[in-house]
């Protein structure tokens, strides 16, 4: 341990040591040569762990730390203790007893919307009361609408409140020994669950429900359930990011949100079960998971039940389920929901099929490769494979540039070069020589990619190839907004648990599209689709004539550009009944294009209750996008109001449940952060700050 460097760090450190000593004295323990050595009887079974019993089992080390709450924290300052009381368990290569036992996911898919119930099963394996804290992912477009805490047979539905107010009530309930739970959103795809005052041996279930529109790409629907938050890099000096720290090292990153990771060889015993009921409405031609072993049970031709194989239950990569339905390219679909306050619709808008026949335009391709530590190994190999394939598809009318970034950025040449055989050979050589390591200073990559003069004769396509493991997403999105100009961004996510929120948002702001390739699937098909999409002109400047539908409050506010094979969803409020014709027009290069869509507002199967909440979620997303570059008190209030009115979680609200009848004994106990494995294919050593 290094010495404290100044008085400011010394005072809280002394206080922390004092409290540690007191806790240990109370526990009837004394320091030995290894430090405060305590052990649990858990080695052989599932009996409660007793952190303060000394049994002399050298493989197990239990430490209780308690510090004052206002410790100064900074990245890499290892002598500073964590900011919260914390119980740590180290059991070598063995399973670590932790409060999250199991996650059960039950999804129902109807039309293009998934309704997903997630049950997190907490228990207390220790012989002291605990608060469990778990940072976990959900899809970035998920509209979290329900939260129920189950204690025994009692079910308590959480209330949505303004975040600060909910936090305050939760802390007070926790302090008073009440069983309570709090769900907050840290990013659109990262959430924190806290469960206070779990008594030894007790179990508490937390059930979360969300709606999520499915991604549809080139004839296939895709259901995604992320199971782990990838380790994020935060630029030096930042505090609002998402830190990646080793298990038991709370507070080390100095970031507002922290994920603790299991060390190589450790496992937590937390497993996951996933079942998906797919009601496609039309015949399912093919259904498969490219990431996990699944058991598929057909229920007639239009329906299938899919279950994750118990052999593949470790939550360390995104679960993907894809299915293709009969009839090739799908037709436009309209879902509606009528209530006494408002009528809501969601329109899936497909680009015209003949866009595929349009000539491709000369491009200025800028490849930006993330060479940071988290891309080490398989991810960078996949990204390189994808880039090689793209490079080989260029022709001599195109130009290209390759930029790499980690702690800094460098590039193939000072300007894009024509895609001649010789230049492509040089480019491939340059690519082969790139290695991974260091931080993820994505901002450097963005500057290098967007801060040079644009050849107006060519369509500038900037392709970011990354896992997106950064904690400062807002800075990155704001920079793209500022520097984009006429470029389009096609983000390409590589890895087993990509930061899809960042990749999707980059593409949205960049008027492009996002594609993803996992580590267990070939990059070929994804690259070919990606290349095709980037090659053809999009249907831009889209305008919609809604016919007899009186439409308002549509989101996205301006229809996005349409790309071959990739529909977009537009949602809004409407008045009207019966059948009408919606006309869509736009420009494809220099050509004007228009097409008509027949819609039936009262047609069979049009009704879908989840639509109004998806509308609200999209409104929040759009307001949040605006907030990245123009934050204001009014925007914050508007997001809060929408969130409270529709009961949808946002960054400014929280779900809170308190069992006011519970009176657990003693103080609030120790906080146990649930550590998670690093995602499959990601190296702990290059991503988690030891």
């Amino acid at each position: 341990m290094r010495r404290p460097r100044n008085r400011e760090t010394l005072v809280p450190l002394v206080a922390a040591v004092v409290v540690v000593a007191v806790l240990l004295v109370i526990a009837g323990c004394s320091p030995d040569r290894r430090g405060f050595s305590l052990s649990s009887p858990l080695a052989g079974g599932r009996e409660p762990a007793r952190p303060w019993e000394t049994t002399g089992m050298s493989e197990e080390l239990w430490v209780i730390e308690k510090s004052s709450g206002d410790m100064p924290r900074s990245r890499g300052d290892t002598e500073k203790p964590p900011s919260q009381g914390e119980l740590r368990a180290k059991r070598g290569e063995k399973e670590i007893p932790l409060p999250l036992e199991h996650t059960d996911v039950k999804a129902q898919i109807s039309a293009f919307v998934a309704t997903v119930d997630v049950t997190q099963k907490y228990h207390n394996p220790y012989d002291t009361k605990i608060e469990a804290v778990y940072v976990f992912p959900l899809p970035q477009s998920a509209a979290v609408t329900e939260f129920v805490m189950t204690i025994g047979t009692r079910r308590i539905r959480a209330i949505i409140r303004e975040r600060e107010e909910a936090k305050k009530i939760y802390e007070e309930a926790r302090r008073q020994g009440k069983v309570a739970s709090l769900l907050t959103q840290e990013r659109p795809n990262i959430f924190t669950q806290k469960v206070a005052n779990i008594e030894p041996g007790k179990k508490i279930d937390i059930n979360i429900t969300y709606f999520n529109p499915l991604r549809y790409d080139n004839g296939e629907y895709e259901f995604v359930f992320p199971t782990v938050v990838g380790p994020r890099f935060n630029p030096p000096g930042s505090t609002g990011g998402v830190g990646a720290v080793p298990r038991g090292k709370a507070g080390r990153s100095g970031q507002k949100t922290e994920v603790q990771y299991l060390k190589p060889g450790e496992r937590s015993g937390h497993d996951i079960a996933i079942s998906v009921d797919v009601a496609a409405g039309v015949e399912i031609e093919k259904i498969y998971s490219p990431t996990h072993a699944v058991n598929v049970t057909p229920r007639g031709t239009n329906r299938a039940q899919v279950a994750l194989s118990p052999m593949d239950a470790i939550p360390n990569k995104d679960f993907l389920l894809r299915y293709r339905v009969a009839g090739g390219t799908l037709k436009t679909a309209l879902l509606t929901h009528r209530s006494k306050d408002e009528n809501t619709f969601a329109l899936v808008l497909h680009p015209p099929a003949d866009m595929k026949d349009l000539p491709r335009m000369p491009r200025e391709m800028v490849f930006v490769l993330d060479c940071s530590g988290s891309m080490h190994g398989m991810p960078i190999a996949k990204a390189k494979e994808a880039m090689r394939r793209c490079l080989r598809k260029l022709d001599e009318n195109d130009t290209f540039q390759i930029i790499r970034f980690s702690d800094n950025a460098s590039r193939l040449g000072s300007a894009p070069v024509p895609a001649t055989k010789e230049n492509l050979r040089r480019g491939l050589e340059y690519l082969d020589g790139l290695t991974s390591g260091g931080g993820t200073m994505m901002i450097e990559g963005i500057k290098a990619a967007l801060d040079f003069p644009h050849d107006k004769e060519k369509l500038r396509i900037v392709s970011f190839m990354t896992d997106g493991y950064i904690g400062n997403e807002t800075d990155i999105l704001a920079a793209i907004e500022k520097k984009l100009g006429s470029a389009r961004i096609f983000s390409f996510g590589v890895g087993s648990a990509v930061n899809r929120y960042l990749l999707e948002r980059m593409a949205k702001i960049g008027r492009g599209a996002a594609a993803f390739v996992g580590l267990s699937e070939g990059a070929g098909a994804a690259v070919d689709q990606f290349y095709e999409r980037a090659s053809r002109p999009a249907l831009a400047g889209v305008e919609i004539d809604w016919g007899r539908m009186k439409v308002n409050s549509t989101y996205p506010k301006s229809p996005p550009d349409l790309f071959v094979g990739r529909p977009v969803i537009i949602t809004g409020h409407f008045q009207g009944t019966g059948k009408t014709i919606v006309h869509v027009k736009g420009r494809c290069g220099t050509e004007e294009k228009s097409y008509a869509i027949d819609v039936d507002l009262d047609g069979p199967g049009a009704e879908h209750q989840g639509i109004s909440r998806i509308w609200a979620r999209w409104k929040i997303a759009e307001l949040s996008d605006t907030e990245t570059h123009s934050p204001s008190v009014e925007l914050k209030q508007e997001i809060t109001d929408v969130s409270l009115r529709y009961g949808i979680l946002s960054r400014y609200t929280a779900f809170l449940a308190v069992d006011s009848l519970s009176d657990t004994s003693g103080t609030h106990g120790v906080t146990v952060n649930v550590p998670v494995p690093v995602p499959d294919g990601v190296r702990y050593e290059t991503t988690v700050e030891e």
Binding site: Q176, Y646, V658
Partner: protein, 157 residues
């Protein structure tokens, strides 16, 4: 070591003192929501609960006593800001639909200050198991705990 213990005790005493002060400010209480259906079976209900929004916050909505209403009722988030909450639940289970006096829900509250707040309830609508509208009454009473623990509680009328 003795010195360290003294400092620790002083710190602990300070913490306890602060805790007592805060404890006086906020109390958590539960309220049973009971309906009286007479001879009718209860298939569905919607009730409104009114509370002083400056001192009372709803912090949870719990399900009722009969298995058919054990799931936590749904609430309308739109009503929360105005000092009221609308609760609703239904069952389609004809065999076990309850009748008579039924605890259909329980609300959990945090209350600022020492005064007992005025919390009231009214029925918006109710139906029997066949979907026919019925007349019911609703009562609200504070749930009193019998002993320490999560499960043993009784209601004080």
């Amino acid at each position: 070591m003795r010195g360290i213990l003294v400092i620790a005790l002083v710190l602990a005493a300070g913490t306890l003192s602060a805790a007592e002060n805060t404890e006086a400010k906020t109390v958590f209480k539960a309220w049973d929501v009971r309906v009286e259906t007479g001879d009718e079976t209860l298939g569905a209900y919607q009730v409104e609960i009114f509370y002083p929004k400056t001192t009372v916050k709803i912090v949870g909505v719990e399900g009722g006593e009969p298995e058919t209403f054990r799931d936590a009722p749904r609430y309308d988030p739109k009503g929360l800001k105005g000092g009221r909450i609308i609760l609703a639940a239904f069952t389609t289970d004809k065999k076990s639909a309850p009748k008579g006096t039924v605890r259909v829900a329980r609300i959990h509250t945090s209350i600022e200050g020492k005064d007992t707040p005025e919390i009231s309830a009214k029925v918006t609508t109710a139906g029997n198991i066949d979907g026919k509208k019925i007349t019911i009454t609703v009562r609200l009473s504070e749930t009193k705990r019998e002993k320490k623990g999560n499960k043993n509680e009784k209601t004080e009328e």
